[in-house]
């Protein structure tokens, strides 16, 4: 049992859970959380791919990709949340 195997399987499980949530969730906010779980699962797999048995240093390229990914995901989240807020306001106003 090495860390890469444990966390690799963790990442795959998180990705699958996120995918199932994104397909089934009804609430917009929860679907967004599910998609974020998917992105975290993908991040896990990339970091695992970079891992080398210590004392070898890990591969820096996947690390850089994951850092880029984290920032892109937070931008996408902010846009999605703004759209969710706007949609909710418009829907509520129509109901009045």
């Amino acid at each position: 049992m090495t860390p890469d195997m444990i966390y690799g399987l963790t990442g795959i499980a998180v990705f699958a859970i996120g995918l199932a949530g994104a397909l089934c969730a009804q609430d917009r906010l929860r679907r967004l959380l599910a998609l974020k779980l998917c992105s975290m699962g993908a991040g896990f797999l990339l970091v695992v791919a970079a891992w080398r048995v210590p004392p070898d240093a890990p591969d820096p390229v996947p690390h850089a990709l994951v850092i880029t990914g984290i920032v892109v995901v937070v931008s996408a989240t902010a846009v999605a949340l703004a759209l969710i807020r706007r949609l909710q306001s418009l829907e509520t106003r129509d109901d009045d």
Binding site: I12, R30, D56, D59, P60, T68
Partner: protein
């Protein structure tokens, strides 16, 4: 006897999977958000165990700071708009028809199959794949910095990083298009203890953010981590309404948004003269140029993330526009 660290890894992996399940299955949306923040925290610990402190730092800065506050703010806004602030236990904000059970089962089976396929592929994959380690190690002396991840981000694969700054810019443009108006929330009364804490913590966060930016040249850290830490100062200022965005401040904000992208592209184009390609920094100036880009990109990232949290373009609107609580 097994190494206790293996038990630690197993326990951490299992709890991360359990938290992912809990985020999607817990009834209360507020609890789902808190669990998601904790999920990010434990993921950062897992990445530390995989010797990826840079990634853990980015997740710690963004996951515990911006993401949690952004999700909580949106939940508050949705409950304010739908008038369910006093019924926090409501599972969904809008009533929905339940999904039929067969559909759920088909979806679950589909995702299980994908997970199984991924797991088989992962376990069958060769132990040490072709990595970029050797290439990066060989090129390190020409990069101008001593930390491989920073070298990859700002030199070897600088196109990716430029695109990332552009994505942030695009996100803030989109958010400003979607929502506009001034915030009418009252200034919160947080008490004297908070005032004292803010006086100590806000400068401390600025110092740590700048330190992370500076240390990025030879150790884990860099523009994104520093920018995300600095953005939390903006978050705290906006939350406590020490700073309230005004229509007149939009020019400065726009300048800060494009600063990173602008300088990054300008440097890339300027060094491309004299037989070099874009992003091929002259060796003797490499470190200076990288630090210049990183510093300005950090400011851009910090301001953009804070603006993404605030969420709407500060424009004075007419009376008929809906009032806004957040």
């Amino acid at each position: 006897m097994t190494d206790p660290l293996v038990i630690f890894d197993l326990l951490l992996g299992l709890s991360i999977v359990a938290l992912a399940l809990a985020v999607l299955s817990v009834r209360d949306l507020f609890a789902a958000i808190v669990l998601f923040v904790i999920f990010g925290l434990l993921s950062a610990l897992a990445w530390v165990r995989l010797s990826a402190p840079d990634v853990a730092l980015a997740e710690a800065a963004i996951g515990t700071g911006v993401t949690g506050a952004l999700l909580l703010k949106t939940l508050h806004h949705l409950r304010y708009v739908t008038g369910t602030l006093d019924r926090p236990e409501a599972m969904n904000l809008t009533p929905v028809t339940p999904v039929p059970m067969p559909v759920l089962w088909v979806n679950a089976a589909f995702c299980g199959l994908i997970a199984l396929g991924l797991a088989v592929a992962f376990l069958e994959a060769p132990k040490v794949g072709p990595g970029f380690d050797a290439l990066v190690a060989e090129a390190m002396p020409a990069s101008g910095v001593d930390h491989p991840v920073t070298a990859v981000l700002l030199n070897f694969r600088a196109y990716d990083t430029l695109m990332e700054v552009v994505v942030l810019l695009a996100a803030v443009i989109a958010v400003w298009q979607v929502e506009r108006g001034l915030s009418e929330a009252p200034a919160p009364h947080l008490g004297e203890v908070w005032q004292g804490f803010a006086r100590l913590a806000l400068p401390a966060i600025v110092v740590v953010g700048t330190y992370l930016l500076w240390v990025g040249a030879e150790a884990p850290g860099g523009a994104f981590q520093g920018g995300a830490v600095l953005a939390s100062v903006g978050l705290l200022l906006l939350l406590s309404r020490f700073y309230v965005p005004q229509p007149a401040h939009r020019g400065i904000a726009r300048l800060a948004f494009v600063l990173g992208t602008g300088v990054f592209s300008a440097v890339a184009l300027l060094v491309s003269g004299g037989g070099r390609v874009a992003f091929e920094y002259p060796l003797e100036h490499a470190k200076t140029l990288i630090l210049l880009i990183e510093g300005l990109v950090t400011i851009s990232i910090a301001v953009t993330l804070a603006a993404l949290f605030h969420g709407r373009e500060p424009v004075a609107l007419g009376e008929e526009e809906r009032r806004n609580d957040t």
